[in-house]
């Protein structure tokens, strides 16, 4: 792949899938420095991996796989490669309940609690929860994680239950 093509595809993906990247970052890192760190790491992996994209799977599934793999092997606090700060801004959201209750919209508070509940899940289940909420099929989820569709189904049943239990009663607070 030529450099110009790599650049074009990278920019295209960033524009089209930045929401997906942000959701993965928020599901795996709670505070701003960690979120920034993980986001940079995913961007760098994405850039290096663009030339290997062959189009055998859907673009979004491929990016999911790359983002999850990076997030799962990512180590908090490790010395990282750095990008200039002006290149991107993450409008990070604090995870604490105090921040949550101080003047943010009901939707934002609920969303942050949902991300908090996802972060409390084991890391593999957090990946599945994200894909479930983003509406990926069992086949796509299995493809991303390298497990069977049946296995995906069994795990999702437990994840749905756990998320509901963790967030039980929270709708009544508003």
């Amino acid at each position: 792949m030529k450099l110009a093509e790599q650049e074009q595809l990278f920019c295209q993906w960033l524009t089209a899938h930045r929401g997906l990247l942000w959701r993965v970052v928020r599901a795996f890192a709670s505070d701003a420095p960690d979120q920034e760190d993980l986001f940079q790491e995913i961007l760098l992996q994405l850039w290096c991996s663009v030339p290997t994209f062959r189009g055998n799977s859907k673009e979004s599934t491929w990016i999911y796989r790359l983002a999850f793999n990076t997030a799962l092997v990512w180590q908090r606090g490790e010395k990282r490669r750095r990008l200039k700060h002006e290149a991107f801004t993450l409008h990070a959201v604090g995870a604490s309940e105090e921040t949550a209750s101080s003047g943010r919209s009901e939707q934002e508070v609920r969303l942050e609690r949902l991300y908090g509940a996802i972060r409390e899940l084991p890391r593999l289940d957090a990946s599945l929860a994200l894909m479930l909420l983003d509406g990926l099929s069992y086949r796509e989820m299995g493809e991303v994680l390298g497990i069977s569709e049946n296995h995906v189904g069994v795990r999702l049943h437990r994840i749905r239950k756990q998320l509901t239990e963790r967030l039980k009663g929270q709708s009544d607070e508003f």
């Binding site: 650049e7 990278f10 920019c11 960033l14 524009t15 899938h17 930045r18 929401g19 942000w22 986001f39 961007l43 760098l44 992996q45 850039w47 290096c48 991996s49 994209f53 491929w62 796989r65 790359l66 999850f68 793999n69 990076t70 799962l72 092997v73 180590q75 490669r81 750095r82 990008l83 200039k84 002006e86 290149a87 991107f88 993450l90 409008h91 990070a92 939707q107 609920r110 969303l111 949902l114 890391r123 593999l124 990946s127 909420l133 983003d134 991303v144 994680l145 390298g146 497990i147 296995h151 795990r155 049943h157 437990r158 749905r160 239950k161 998320l163 509901t164 967030l167 929270q170 709708s171």
Partner: protein
Amino acid sequence: MNFDEIQQVWGRQDAGGSITLNTNLLLKEVRRNQRQFESTIFWRDFRESGVAMCLVYLFGRAWVQQEDWTYGLLALACFGVGIFILVDRLRQRRRRPVMEDSLRGCLLTSLDQVRHQIWLLRKVFWWYQLPLLIPYFISILHEPVSVKSVLIQGFVMALLNWGIYWLNQAAVRKSLEPRERELEALLSSLDEVPSSDHG
């Protein structure tokens, strides 16, 4: 919140609105970063094998000029260690985790890499310290020196090598073994099928 409410909250979030990107600058930055990363790797490999090759040259020259075969032994040992480091680096570079692989594949490659690092540091005495110590002691004993001098040099070398060995084992205990356990746990959780409450 029940699961329908959870899905509603999820669906209403701003798609990508929480990230502001300066795409041109970002592109320049990732390219710069990749170049920097490749150059760091190159210079690290060059430094590690380069030092060994400099020692090969110095000991080799001393061997020829002073006609002392023990320098030849030292040159040979440095050459062996340098080649070992270089070949190992090149092999490991080919086995780097592929992030676009399935999660299982990526975890297996990462685990393999961590285990190799552990093996390398645990065996540091056999592939790094001993091959250099043997010709060093042969060269000391070959010279007509006093027992006291041999003992002092032996003590200093033992202390130095114990320090090197201890540092390597500490790195294994403090960072590599916890990492290995973490990756193993992730891999086994991939295979673990929840048995309870399915239905």
